[in-house]
Structure formats: C-alpha cells, structure tokens
Amino acid sequence: MRIRVKNGRVVDPARCFDSAADLFIADGRIVSLGDTPPAGFVAEGTIDATGCIVCPGLVDLSARLREPGLEYKATLESEMAAAAAGGVTTLACPPDTDPPLDEPGLVEMLRHRARLPEFANVHPVGALTVALAGQRLTEMAELAEAGCIAFGQANIAVVDTQVLLRAMQYAATFGFSVWLQAQDPYLARGGVAHDGEVAARLGLTGMPVVAETIALATLLHLARETGVRLHLQRISSAAGLEMIRAARAAGIAVTCDVAAHQLHLCENDIGWFDPHCRLDPPLRSSVDRDALRAGLADGGIDALCSDHTPVDDDAKQAPFAEAEPGATGLELLLPLTLRWAAEMKLPLAKALARVTSDPARVLGIPAGSLAPGAAADICVFDPEATFRVSRETLRSQGKNTPFLGHALKGRVRYTLIDGHLAHHDDMA
C-alpha cells in the first residue's frame, strides 16, 4: 500500500532532519521525504499530519509484556495496543516471564504470538542464566537463533561473580550483548525506597546508592575483563552515572538507559506511601533526578526507556513495602520525553533521538530512522494536545502509574508499523 503522510513537520533524529515535509511510503518502506511524490507514486491512502510531528516510531528498551505466564497482569494484545497508542513500534522485553525466557521454544512462541501486523516489533531479551537463578548459563546461541537480541537478568542479580564472569565471556564469544541492572543483592535486601530522608521519615527500609555503585563497579570491571558489550539498564543515581562516564572515558564499551519516570519524580513523590511510586530501582533524591536529566541530555545516558511494568490492582493495592514494584509506561514514554525536552530546552530532534535512533543503536538494529528504504515504523503526534492520564484512557492492562491524574502534553495520532496503520486516534 502506498501512503502519503502530508502537511506534517518531519523530525528524523538519526539525520538531524527537522523540517516541514511529506513522507511517502510504499510496501511497508519509506520511499522518500519531500514536497512532491517520487515519480510514479500514486497514494492509495493519505494521513493528514497538519499540526503534528512525524517521527520514527519509538524504540523502547524495556517493556514487560507479561507473556508467557503472567497474563493476569497483562496480555500481548493489551500491551501491544498500549505500545501502538504510545507510538512505540519496536521494543525489547525482559526475560522475567513465568517461566523465564530461558528456552528457545518459549522465545519462538512469543515471537510467533507477536507476529500480527498491528503489533510492534518485539525483541526478546533472553535469560542470561537458567531460570534467572544465576547458576547455569542458558543456551545463548540457540536462544539468539530463536530471536533473542541480547541476554539479561531483568532486575535479578547474578550473585555469584564467577558465574557472571563466565556468562560475559561466553556472550562475548558470540558477540552477544549483555543487559543488566546494577543492584547489589545484599545491599538492596529488603530495600523498598531510596535510603534517604523520606524512607527515614516514613519508616521504610532504605536501598542505598551504594547498592547501585558497588554492583556497577563489579559489572564494569568484568566488562573490561571480558570485552563483552554491556548495556546497563535503568540507572538511578548521580554517582552511578559518574562511574559509567569514567568507564567510558577509560575505553570500556558500555551503554546505559534510564526509565522515563526517573526524570520527573524523586523520593518526595512517595508522599503518603503512594504504591505507584514503589519502583525498582527506587526513586532517588532530587539531586540524582537532576543528574539523570542532565546525563540524558548530554549523552552520558544513551537512551530513555519506559520500563513498562503492568501490575494488577491486587498486587499494587497493598502497604508500600508489600506492593509489587513497577509502573505502566508504554503510553507515557513520548509525553514524558517531551516534558523533559521542554523543561531542558532541548531541540526536538535531539530529545527524540533518545527514544528512537539511540535505543536502536543499543539494540544494533536499523530501526528509529526515516531514511529512504527504512521500514515504515512511524509515529505521528500532536505535540500540543494535552490529555489526562486515567485508568479509562490507558490501554495497557496495568493501570499503575504515578502519573495517574496528571495532564501530559503530546498525543499520538497515528502509529504505523511496517506501513500498517496500528493506531489511529480520532479524538483530533
């Protein structure tokens, strides 16, 4: 099908392109950008993007889809609808399903289920160790063949550093990336909130920043030792960010991301034990938050992810420490990116790079671009349209977000995946 996206402002961060232009799509691929159609192009469909930004579909490095095994929290159908509504066209899902993604058959099944045209491109992150137990290596080569794009542990630490060393060595043998969250399991034990003033006052068990920095030191040393491509997920502290900068300066191949809620919230937002602010890693101090915002702007942090974690109401409606951590995020990734960009006074192309071309680079895939020949994964959004986050409007099965009730700017009007219309918001 040939589609013309007309009258929009096209932003292609990968090429620093930001200009009024029409976008021409044929057979699921981008044909060209410009004022006039390429020779012989007759549009069968037109999308009117007047007043809208046309950008590559978002690439999310961490979105829990809850399949297999946790369908009471979310299903592929519900979360794919959320992704499309959020303009997310490519995502990586962590391996902490039930059972975890540690067998090729599970990965094949997930990929098969996710194959519908209106579904985002799903890249499973395979388990680094069997059952995520941190003891035996998974069949990484087999898992890669089944479609795993990297190997990780979700937010479960490998306690045994010898296993960690071997896992990195093995992954490096085949050129696989290893994605890990830096959190020392002993220092993090029992911790449910940043070890600071708010935890002290509310009587919550604190998770200190050293839980992150000590684990980071271990991971960075092992990355240097093994030469593995290491991606650090969801960093939460200013001190952690500084370590990553230093490691990079010392020549260690390392990338990192931060969760979108970490840019806008800090420990104070826990308020009166708001279980929506029970997150992992925890919301830290305002100083940490500001450092993460600046780090994402200056490239110290490579990418912004949603850390999408749908949680059922029963698991959330509990005293703070007992509430299951996580927030739904696919539908908020774009507005939270735009809010950060506006507050930091960043050019739109630079800000959008952190949710398109930069995460695509971390994934090592040719997504997040509007270059001719690229897959027509496109997000058309109205940057000025405001919406209120509510249980009713969220398409994700998880209604758990600290932003419930907040008015956010930036509404996705159309999402195209491989040239296929996956989402259309006719509230315009």
């Binding site: 070890d195 600071g196 003033e197 708010v198 935890a199 002290a200 006052r201 509310l202 009587g203 919550l204 068990t205 604190g206 200190p208 104070n268 308020g271 009166w272 034990f273 279980p275 029963d314 409606q317 509990a318 005293p319 703070f320 420490a321 007992e322």
Partner: protein, 329 residues
C-alpha cells in the same frame, strides 16, 4: 523543602478536624494538646468504683491486629470498654508467604459488619493510611482508623501517652532537653516521639544510638534543625530532663547490626551511673516491654526516676481521649 505542609494530611478533614489518627507528623499542636487535655479527666475514671463512661455506647470498635501484640491491644480494649464501646478483637496472622484475603478485602468485610472504628496494628509501614484511604475512596469515611503501630512508621498513641507523661511530670515542653536512646532505625515509637516533641516546642531533642541503629538523614527527619545525634550515651544524657529508652529486639543481632546484647548494654544500656549525668530530677521512660540488662538496668527501671508504669496508666486515658475525639463524643 517542607514536605509536611506540601502534602495533604490524610487524618484531618477539610475543617482541620481529626478523623483518623495515623501519625503525629504534621499534626497541629492544638490537636495534640487537645488530646492531652481531653485525656486528663479520663485518668480519674480509673479511680472510680464504676470505671465506665457512656461516650461510645453502641459503637463497635474493631481491634485489627495483623501483628502480635498483647499489651497495646489490651490497652486499646480497656480504653474502648471504659468508653462503653463494643470491642471485637481480631488477630490476623499474616506472612508474606501465606496467600489469602488481601488487606483491603479484610477491611471491606469488617466494614460490612458496621464497624465504627478500626484500631490497626500492621507490620508494614503505611498500612493504616492505606485502609483510611480505601475507606474514603469507597464512601465510608465515617469509619475512623486509629494506628496502633505500623511497621517502623508510627505509633501515634504511644507518642501521645509519652507526651502526656512528660507534661504530667514537667508541665512545660518549651524548656526541656529530651534524649531518645536506642534503636531509632526500627522504631515507630521513636518516630512518633520525635515529631511530637518537635511540634510541642521542645528546644533540645537528641537521639543516641550506634550508627547501625539510626536511619540515614535522621538529623533532618523532623526539620527545624533541632535534632542532635549522639553516639556516646554519656554525652547524650548530659543535662537532659527526660530519657526515653527504646526497646531493643533480639533479632537485631542476626542482621549484623550489633554484636551482642552484652556489648549493647555496655555502651547504650541505661545504668544509674550514666543516668547520673542527666538532671537530678530527670524522668526515665520506656514503651515496654523492657529488656532488663539490655537497654535498661533494673536499678534504673525500678528506681525513683522511672515513670514506666505511670506511662501504662496514662496510655489508657490517652487512648480513650483519641477514640472519644474521633467519634465526636
């Protein structure tokens, strides 16, 4: 940043009246002193032949104890019965492994039995607030919630009875030096005491503990910079009017927080020799149950400066006052 004023209080209604008692943090001074004033006449009821007033007649008070407690539950029960309420005691053993009814399901079921008041003890910080919020969001804000201790967060009636005790012996708060000694990190009692002392205008508030038993940022916990941290008990006790000792639980030895009860007693146990550094008329308080020879020497616990048993007596009057005020009686 002053968080107390920036967050809406869950325990006051739009008119600033007390509808639940969840924490002493942010509770206005007039309300605290109002409760203490209200408690005073209730202490006399205990001296009467018939120890009962009809203020809560026909009301149902549910003691909802998700964590074991004999002492606190009993004092709440006595307080409610002296107010002529019907008291229902529920001990609900929960463990993280025991799957079953959720906390809010339990609350819904009991609310359906026409409860008027829930007295809640729970091992998790914030549980009573969650219950109060749930009742409000389901149109049942007429059911009052009294926090009888939640995790490490708050034990407001204990804090209030401690303030009652201090006022009884020292009359005025504004010239006092008060030391809170022991396991502040795990203590809901300490948190409630510190907030109340700050609100009532105590100018010299001290906490004394080893670093392993203090939360990070403790010195900023009550704002206003009036809190001083001591690691040496002798230094911390110099010239104080009130010593508030905290209970040390045995499991603290397992978490590598302390080497042994003996060593704790040597450094932080309240002995007559250390107490001599406080003012001669200093009073010694303890929320009970005491570990003699761990946080307190028997010679002090049974000595002339100890007011530990009067605390228990005052506790009933204070709990009566809280319940009566919440019920609008």
């Amino acid at each position: 940043m002053n968080l107390v004023t920036s967050r809406p209080s869950p325990q006051l209604n739009a008119n600033g009246e007390l509808i639940h008692l969840i924490t002493l943090e942010g509770l206005p001074r007039e309300i605290i002193t109002g409760i203490l004033d209200r408690a005073a006449p209730f202490t006399e009821i205990a001296e009467r032949e018939v120890k009962k007033v009809p203020l809560l007649r026909g009301k149902s008070v549910f003691n909802l104890f998700f964590e074991n407690s004999t002492r606190t539950r009993t004092t709440f029960e006595i307080a409610a019965k002296r107010l002529s309420a019907d008291v229902i005691n529920l001990n609900i053993n929960t463990s993280s492994t025991a799957k079953g009814e959720t906390l809010l399901d339990t609350v819904d079921n009991l609310a359906a039995m026409q409860a008027d008041m829930f007295v809640v003890r729970h091992a998790s910080s914030g549980a009573p607030y969650l219950i109060a919020q749930h009742l409000a969001s389901t149109g049942r804000e007429h059911i009052h919630v009294v926090n009888a201790g939640d995790g490490r967060h708050a034990h407001p009636t204990q804090g209030l009875l401690d303030m009652y005790t201090i006022r009884h012996y020292k009359q005025d708060f504004t010239g006092l030096a008060v030391a809170v000694v022991g396991d502040v990190l795990h203590s809901r009692v300490a948190r409630s005491q510190l907030h109340a002392l700050a609100t009532l205008g105590v100018p010299d508030i001290r906490v004394v503990a080893p670093k392993t038993l203090l939360p990070s940022g403790v010195e900023r916990m009550i704002g206003s910079g009036r809190l001083r941290v001591f690691h040496d008990l002798r230094e911390g006790l110099k010239g104080v009017d009130v010593v508030m000792t905290l209970r040390l639980q045995n499991e603290r030895m397992l978490g590598a927080l302390l080497p042994s009860p003996q060593e704790y007693f040597k450094s932080y146990g309240l002995t007559p020799e250390k107490l001599a550094l406080a003012k001669p008329d200093a009073i010694v308080m303890h929320p009970g149950p005491m570990n003699r020879g761990v946080e307190i020497d028997s010679a002090v616990a049974d000595g002339r400066q100890a007011v530990i048993l009067p605390q228990v007596t005052f506790g009933i009057a204070v709990r009566m006052a809280v319940m009566a005020m919440l019920a609008g009686a």
